[in-house]
C-alpha cells in the first residue's frame, strides 16, 4: 500500500476546498487570498486564454449575507469602469450555490508593501491622487466604498493604482427594486443591495469615519469615504493611521519629520474633521483641492493670509521674477555707470 506524505495530503486537502468552476471556462490555479467575505483564486480563462482572479463567497448558503455582499460587490464593480477600479469580466453561481465573480488578475503589491518605495511627497501624492480619483468616480456614480484602507489599494507592476474590495460599498439612492436571479425572476432576498442595519459597524478602525465608528454606517455618505481618504493620506505621509482627536492629528502632521506643507496639512485635516459637513462633500472636491495644491495655487481647505498669498505667488513665479529682476538690476547698473 502506498503511503502519502503529509505534504501531499495537505495539498490534496487544500485542492479539495477549491471551488468547482465551470471547467470548460475556468481552471483554478491557486488561492490568492481569503477574507471575511470570500476567497480569491487565480484561474485560467480557457475561452479567452488569460489569467483571471475569481472571488467566491465563503458561505454555501445561497442568498445569505456574504453571498449577497459578494453579488453586490460584483454589481458595483460592473458599474464602475475606471482605470483605478478592477474590471469584472463575469459572474455566476457555483454548483454548490455560492456566488462567484471573475475579475482582472492584478499583478503587484498592496499599498502597505508599496509605500516604502514612494520617495518624497510628490510620489506619495501621485499615488494618492489616483486612489482619490477612483473614489471620486464612484461617488459621481452614487457609490461609496466604506472600507478604504492601505490593504484595499493595489499598486500594479506598471504603476497602475487600483482600489479593491467593494464588498461593503453602498449604492446611494438605490431603489429597492427586485433584481433577477439566475432564472431571471426576482427574489425577495435580492431586494436590498445596501442592507446595513443601523448599529452595524462597517469599516476598519483607524481609517473609518467617526459616524461609521459609532455604527451609523447606514447614514454614512461620501464624506465617510473622504474621511478614510484623509486617513489614508495621513498614513502615507506619517506612516501611521491618524489619532481619533483632530487636534492630535494636526499636531502629528505639523511635527512629523519632513513636515508636509501647511496647505497639504490643511487638506488632510479637513478630510479628518469629525463632522461630515466640515469635510469635503465628496472625493471629487478633494481631488480638485489636491490638484490646486500640486499646482501651487491656494486651496479651499486653508484660507491664506495676504503674506502667505504673496509668498505663494512669488514661489510660483520665482524664476521669472528673478530673471526680470536681474535684467532691471543690470539696466540700472549701466545707467549708474554712465553718469
Amino acid at each position: 500500500m502506498m503511503r502519502l506524505s503529509d505534504e501531499i495530503i495537505g495539498h490534496l486537502r487544500e485542492v479539495a476546498t477549491w471551488p468547482e468552476l465551470p471547467p470548460e471556462r475556468y481552471v483554478v490555479r491557486r488561492p490568492i487570498g481569503r477574507g471575511g467575505m470570500g476567497a480569491v483564486f487565480a484561474a485560467h480563462d480557457e475561452v479567452l486564454d488569460r489569467e483571471v482572479a475569481v472571488k467566491i463567497s465563503n458561505t454555501a448558503e445561497s442568498g445569505g449575507d456574504l453571498d449577497r455582499r459578494l453579488r453586490q460587490e460584483a454589481r458595483v464593480l460592473a458599474q464602475l469602469e475606471h482605470p483605478g477600479i478592477v474590471p469584472v469580466h463575469d459572474a455566476g453561481v457555483l454548483a454548490d450555490g455560492r456566488w462567484f465573480y471573475v475579475m482582472k488578475l492584478v499583478h503587484g503589491e498592496t499599498l502597505i508593501e508599496h509605500l516604502p518605495r514612494l520617495a518624497g511627497e510628490a510620489a506619495v501624492l501621485s499615488v494618492f491622487e489616483r486612489i482619490a480619483e477612483a473614489v471620486a468616480f464612484a461617488h459621481a456614480a452614487g457609490i461609496i466604498h466604506r472600507d478604504l484602507k492601505p490593504s484595499n489599494v493595489m499598486v500594479g507592476t506598471f504603476g497602475e493604482v487600483l482600489v479593491l474590495d467593494w464588498g461593503v460599498a453602498k449604492v446611494l439612492g438605490a431603489t429597492r427594486r427586485p433584481a433577477p436571479d439566475r432564472s431571471g425572476s426576482a427574489t425577495p432576498r435580492d431586494r436590498d443591495d445596501n442592507a446595513t442595519a443601523s448599529g452595524t459597524r462597517i469599516g476598519t478602525p483607524g481609517f473609518m469615519a467617526p459616524e461609521q465608528h459609532r455604527g451609523d454606517a447606514s447614514v454614512a455618505g461620501p464624506a465617510a469615504d473622504v474621511y478614510s481618504l484623509g486617513a489614508l493620506l495621513f498614513w502615507m505621509l506619517i506612516g501611521s493611521s491618524p489619532p481619533a482627536a483632530l487636534d492630535e492629528a494636526a499636531h502629528a502632521l505639523g511635527t512629523a519629520p519632513g513636515r508636509p506643507a501647511r496647505r497639504l496639512r490643511a487638506i488632510v485635516v479637513k478630510c479628518l474633521a469629525p463632522h461630515p459637513d466640515a469635510r469635503y462633500a465628496h472625493a471629487g472636491e478633494l481631488v480638485e483641492d489636491l490638484a490646486r495644491y500640486r499646482a501651487g495655487n491656494p486651496v479651499a481647505a486653508h484660507r491664506e493670509s495676504p503674506i502667505e498669498r504673496a509668498a505663494a505667488w512669488f514661489g510660483r513665479y520665482r524664476t521669472f521674477i528673478l530673471l526680470v529682476a536681474a535684467y532691471l538690476v543690470m539696466r540700472a547698473l549701466f545707467a549708474f555707470l554712465q553718469r
Partner: protein, 119 residues
C-alpha cells in the same frame, strides 16, 4: 496662449522696453530713440517667435532657456555691430541685457506657453 504667440508678445514688449532704456543708459541717443525702440521691438519679435517656435517643438525648460539666450545674444550682437559716431561699440550694454531678455522669453514660453495643437 500658445508658445509662438506668447514669445512674439513677450519679445515685443521686452524689446520695446529694452529700447526705451537707452534713454537712461545712453542719454546721448535721445534723438534716435524712435528708431532704437522700433529696431529693438522688431528684434524682440523675431527672437520671441523663434524661441516660441522652438519651445513648441522641444519641451525642455533648460534647452528653451539656452536657445533663448543664444538667439537673443546673436541678434543683440548684430545690433551692437553698428558703431557709434565715435566708432566705439555698445557690446556689453546691448548684448548682456539682450541676452537676459532671451533667457526670460525662453523661460516664459516653456513654462507658461501652451503647445499648439497639431493636425
Amino acid at each position: 496662449m500658445n508658445k509662438p504667440v506668447l514669445g512674439l508678445l513677450l519679445g515685443a514688449v521686452l524689446g520695446a522696453f529694452d529700447g526705451l532704456t537707452a534713454l537712461i543708459s545712453a542719454p546721448e541717443t535721445q534723438d534716435q530713440i524712435l528708431g532704437i525702440v522700433i529696431g529693438s521691438t522688431a528684434k524682440g519679435i523675431v527672437v520671441g517667435v523663434l524661441v516660441g517656435w522652438y519651445a513648441s517643438r522641444v519641451n525642455s525648460l533648460a534647452k528653451g532657456m539656452l536657445v533663448g539666450l543664444v538667439v537673443a545674444a546673436f541678434f543683440a550682437f548684430l545690433v551692437a555691430l553698428a558703431p557709434n559716431p565715435d566708432g566705439s561699440h555698445y557690446w556689453v550694454e546691448i548684448m548682456l541685457p539682450g541676452s537676459i531678455v532671451g533667457l526670460i522669453v525662453g523661460y516664459a514660453t516653456q513654462k507658461f506657453g501652451r503647445t499648439p495643437a497639431r493636425a
